[in-house]
């Protein structure tokens, strides 16, 4: 096993947890994997672009969301600049979801959970699920007639499922807090983890013609 920190004069490993943690990270995720300047030939396809466009959509969503949160609902409803940033926020979410689903299709047909990549796939599924809740709370946070209509209808679904005991979709403060703090933090952390996992395991190879994904797993 390769160790980046040389053993001591008696061949012993460092007793410091920071040195051991550093060695572990250097072994699992060397810098040349984290920030590569070369990629395998099969990455030269538009299908591999969907993931990075999804991240671009997320960055735009977060940036425009920060501006909206700083200025408040009376700004985003009344002023021209507020309406502009409200629209940027809305359309970057559309971009985010559209390319996230295209990324999902691409990875699904490539069976990209192969060869030890199941955690990457599962983190992606969780991000997708949390994003749906984030979009829902975003609709509730609009503070217009549409958001009231959505909340009044959604409360019945949540009450029927029992979730109404914990969440009140008619409570703007609760929904807004979840939308601007908890869910974005969860999505950003999980997206970072998703990318780290992709860098650790590398990009999945396409399935070769005439081979099933099952046979590839056995050989991998």
């Amino acid at each position: 096993m390769r160790r980046s920190t040389p053993p001591g004069p008696m061949g012993e490993r460092s007793s410091s947890w920071t040195a051991r943690a550093r060695d572990e990270v250097a072994e699992r995720l060397p810098l040349e994997h984290l920030l590569p300047d070369r990629q395998p030939y099969y990455v030269g396809s538009w299908v591999y672009i969907f993931g990075v466009v999804t991240i671009a959509g997320l960055v735009l969503t977060v940036l425009s969301g920060v501006i909206l949160a700083l200025a408040g609902p009376d700004w985003w409803h009344i002023s021209a600049a507020g309406r502009f940033f409200n629209s940027v926020h809305f359309w970057s979410v559309q971009l985010f979801f559209l390319f996230m689903v295209l990324h999902l299709w691409g990875q699904y047909f490539m069976a990209s959970w192969r060869d030890g990549r199941a955690p990457t796939w599962m983190i992606g599924v969780v991000i997708f699920a949390i994003s749906i809740v984030a979009a829902f709370t975003g609709y509730l946070s609009q503070q217009n007639f549409a958001s009231q209509w959505i909340a009044v209808n959604a409360k019945d679904a949540l009450n029927a499922s029992g979730l109404g005991a914990f969440f009140n979709v008619l409570n703007f403060g609760q929904m807004y807090g979840i939308h601007v703090m908890l869910l974005p933090a969860a999505i950003i952390v999980l997206v970072a983890l998703h990318i780290v996992w992709v860098r650790m395991k590398g990009v999945v190879k396409p399935i070769e013609p005439g081979r099933s994904s099952r046979s590839t797993v056995k050989e991998g």
């Binding site: 030939y41 030269g44 396809s45 538009w46 299908v47 672009i49 559209l98 689903v101 295209l102």
Partner: protein, 45 residues
């Protein structure tokens, strides 16, 4: 924006025209991504 969207209805399937157009756009984008080469990839191979 203030008027409701048109809907298509076949049996149990009910879908708004904007949603249908968006799904069609996504399928077209996905198909194009499979067949259109990335710029610069031809020279490399």
């Amino acid at each position: 924006m203030d008027t409701p969207a048109g809907y298509l209805h076949w049996g149990f399937i009910l879908i708004s025209i904007p949603n249908l157009l968006l799904i069609a756009l996504m399928i077209v984008l996905f198909a194009l991504a499979l067949v259109v080469p990335l710029p610069g990839e031809k020279e490399k191979s």
